[in-house]
Symmetry: D2
Subunit: 323 residues, 4 copies
Amino acid sequence: MSIRTDLAVEAKEVYEKENSRKIQGVEVSNSNKGKIKITNVKVVTEEGAKAMGKPKGTYITIDMPRLIHYDIDAMDDVSEVLGEELSKLVNLEDSMTALVVGLGNWNITPDALGPKVVSKIMITRHLKELVPDSIDERIRPVCALAPGVLGITGMETSEIIKGVVDKIKPNLIICIDALASRKMERVNSTIQIGTTGISPGSGVGNRRMEISERTLGIPVIAVGVPTVVDAATMANDTIDMVIDQMINSAKQGGDFYNMLKTMDKNDKQSMIKEILDPYVGNLMVTPKEVDMVIDSISKIIANGINISLQPALGREDIDRFLQ
Amino acid sequence: MSIRTDLAVEAKEVYEKENSRKIQGVEVSNSNKGKIKITNVKVVTEEGAKAMGKPKGTYITIDMPRLIHYDIDAMDDVSEVLGEELSKLVNLEDSMTALVVGLGNWNITPDALGPKVVSKIMITRHLKELVPDSIDERIRPVCALAPGVLGITGMETSEIIKGVVDKIKPNLIICIDALASRKMERVNSTIQIGTTGISPGSGVGNRRMEISERTLGIPVIAVGVPTVVDAATMANDTIDMVIDQMINSAKQGGDFYNMLKTMDKNDKQSMIKEILDPYVGNLMVTPKEVDMVIDSISKIIANGINISLQPALGREDIDRFLQ
Amino acid sequence: MSIRTDLAVEAKEVYEKENSRKIQGVEVSNSNKGKIKITNVKVVTEEGAKAMGKPKGTYITIDMPRLIHYDIDAMDDVSEVLGEELSKLVNLEDSMTALVVGLGNWNITPDALGPKVVSKIMITRHLKELVPDSIDERIRPVCALAPGVLGITGMETSEIIKGVVDKIKPNLIICIDALASRKMERVNSTIQIGTTGISPGSGVGNRRMEISERTLGIPVIAVGVPTVVDAATMANDTIDMVIDQMINSAKQGGDFYNMLKTMDKNDKQSMIKEILDPYVGNLMVTPKEVDMVIDSISKIIANGINISLQPALGREDIDRFLQ
Amino acid sequence: MSIRTDLAVEAKEVYEKENSRKIQGVEVSNSNKGKIKITNVKVVTEEGAKAMGKPKGTYITIDMPRLIHYDIDAMDDVSEVLGEELSKLVNLEDSMTALVVGLGNWNITPDALGPKVVSKIMITRHLKELVPDSIDERIRPVCALAPGVLGITGMETSEIIKGVVDKIKPNLIICIDALASRKMERVNSTIQIGTTGISPGSGVGNRRMEISERTLGIPVIAVGVPTVVDAATMANDTIDMVIDQMINSAKQGGDFYNMLKTMDKNDKQSMIKEILDPYVGNLMVTPKEVDMVIDSISKIIANGINISLQPALGREDIDRFLQ
């Protein structure tokens, strides 16, 4: 029952809270674009990587303003910022090919983010190959795949991607995935961009085996959005919060204070089990309007990716192409 | 933040726990059919109704065995039991018309149970009226409607139903609705049948205004299944459980014991708010495979209703008709 | 096998071709807004109504330019024109209520236009009633319903609408329906607005009983778009075209010329039956990308209706409200 | 405008009609199982292959009885027959892996057959690899993929399959595809099994490049069902039928007879263009209830494939596994 988070900013928070000291080997910087907050977490040493539970590399977090999904202009602003941040990582000549991969299970709404993004990507590789004269030469060849998950295909997603990459030979992969966060406040409001690929065991549906430059031989940019909190995580955090509040109220050194301080993992686990039974490990907490929100986020992400992959085109050209 | 439950069996449990005594004016009996447990809760006095927070009447609960959704035969058994229990409440001559109403919002998966059931009901009223010779005379006229919810239509569901009832003049209404339960163990595993209609404020989406014999002038049978636990309820129950465990461990009469005993609603509310922010009141806890499970339950419920409304037909006839 | 069309402009064409003379009692005028052509057909006498097979009244046809569904700006232009034309027919004070009705079967893609439009209408009636202070007083109360079709509900759509209208008492109804046209060139490219309600037997799915001011007591504006050509119509027209071409080639007065001229309905029907067997009467001709196109048209229509019903709001306000 | 058919039985009919003689190098045999007709077309010589426009190999056609989609038992019978016919072609040891590929575009209902079948296949490969002890050893490892179409992915489907096959190394591929037939009577009522793979240019959506043993190095069994007639084909056949009827009526050797006999392709093409404009090449003829029928066929096909791939299991085991 180790509490896992897919977000680098949360991993840092958890570490610093649990260890009551600042993390080493990790550099953090912040900036803002209007109401949008950008946090850059660089894991620079092995020590930092171990403390974070994440490989060395860059993790950029874009915090969307509240109520974004009710405001088309604000959505566009986030797409622009995402496009800019991605552009810094996409180091490709115009003629190089990008493969966009939508991870996740299209039958589970909050896990369907990846496949939904893929359906809104500007697909051009076949036109560049089959009818090159019909298409602006500055347009980059882009292809995309939503391979499904292990239970649907019987194949590790990384196996499928590896097979396709070996055959198609793209120069860059952008992977989109739905994540789990620790905190409700980050659900559907944070975009994380990472350069270290997708690690095993991530996401809503526990997909495994690494999709990364190490395994595929080409750069992999991961774009993730937390769309759920695991119910066990929420129960765990609720228990922690109650206990913390008790500790603050209890007399230091008193019997009760000591009892609280020594409350162990087994007690917590049995409480979580009682609350969630019979569904432990299989429950998620989501906003009621999850279908609408996933739709809205998938547009934001797809637009950001399209902007970064097609620097020669304006937004209108992209919209026209996609319709 | 009063903790509400749509289930009579839970209302009784909550009352008896909070008041540490047995509820008055409520009669409970149990029976079993194979692995299926049937609980009959009769609220017989006004005192009982007040204690329960539910009108006088009969509430039948059918507890499905675990893993039901992975076993077609077991699903059929539940449909049969549901059909039998409903049949006892459907007091209609063969020629009388039933209207089946699917409440809920088809855009929110766990609230879509009602509309999904309606799509699997055997619809016959138009055939009886338009081509009576083409259809077995023992077939009951049945019609159905999934009116949507207030935010989708701009009309109270009860207004739409009242309008349609006044025009169509059915003799009975069966309403299907997705409920919220207090406990995860009841989610997607309990069917409640009630004779008192649908009360205000019920369900996942807070639909309002009563749909009942009192307002419509004809009997209303409500069939509900809890498909979510409200996240605020889960947080509240988690906090309660932690506190209860502390109380058990604390020395009776000691300072800490007294502090715990006097912990008030405001403390709890502020903790819940911190956990769920910014989504308080708008979060639900569901199993990951909610789409598949709602599909499966809607088949079970629709089959049970079809069995009860068409006593002259066998299962094969109903299946053939529906295809 | 009488060849039916839902479009007034086609009914006029058919009459004039079959009778080789101009129709009487029908006034036609044309205008253009950019690339959009607007045709106004007024059936002014009973003689005209009989010849047209349509009640006396006004039928406005908006012809969209080709490739509209690939161009967001062009789609907006059509919505504006539709909004203007509808505004001329919507004679309501600000506080009066409009009910938007989406006819058709959501399970048959080309018949799902009405329900899809309804899902994009700005719904305000409940806000005006429940939280009047929270909403701009110039906003008109609008409610909406997609009642389904006879085979799904067991009730005539007109019965459901009549029941709801009697209860809700709106001041105006706007009905949206998918139509069948005679000619492929009009499919998904023509919007017809009519003031005479929806006539029996119209549309893709043969819905019956009139929805009109005569039956409901309030004005009914019908908005329709042809989304299919009936396959039997296409086969019939193909046969006619071949025969016409033969007649042109044959020597006038010769045996063959006479044979062609006397070819009767039975011959044609048996040929159509042979081509379409075993599906006669149940086949439709649609473009392959029908799902995408119906989506696009439903946006155009919903925007036009929103513009006409909320004259106090700009497009941005409406977009923001709908998100 | 060469009239193409995906069905071997139709290719033979067309050849024999156009050439007024029996085809050479093709062996045909028939049998029946209850109301189900099985036709076995063997193309045995190169001459036969050229005449048919299909590679040498075996093409089995299963004709379903009418109204099959309204009768669960009859559907099961077809699945059994399909399972038997496939079993004869699946020459694998128990431990060998099969890959099921669902071709086609899930956004175009009649082209979505392949992806829908894949979603109902019993997927076991990952269980055999990850938790071999939890699963009956007689269960064959099966994996599946619905890769999408060129316009969605930017990659030739055959490229994706080739990449995955090289990586996963299955021993057999079963491909499912929606076909176009010449005749409405075969739409949704014929299943064709072929051993020569999927040829270029087949299907509703014109997918290209061969998927076959020749290109992939392992046996490829293709299962196809015609789900549409191309509207241009229907128009063409209608014209032919009218002309044939004229020819039969015209005096042999007369002017008109000669004119009809010499009517050329250009005349026909211009008539087809006039009928279908502006949609030539992009229109399909389908039954109205296409969504329901594709669902029903996908169950029949998936069951047949499951039966053939898991000979050690009974139908109940397969159903239980799939739920």
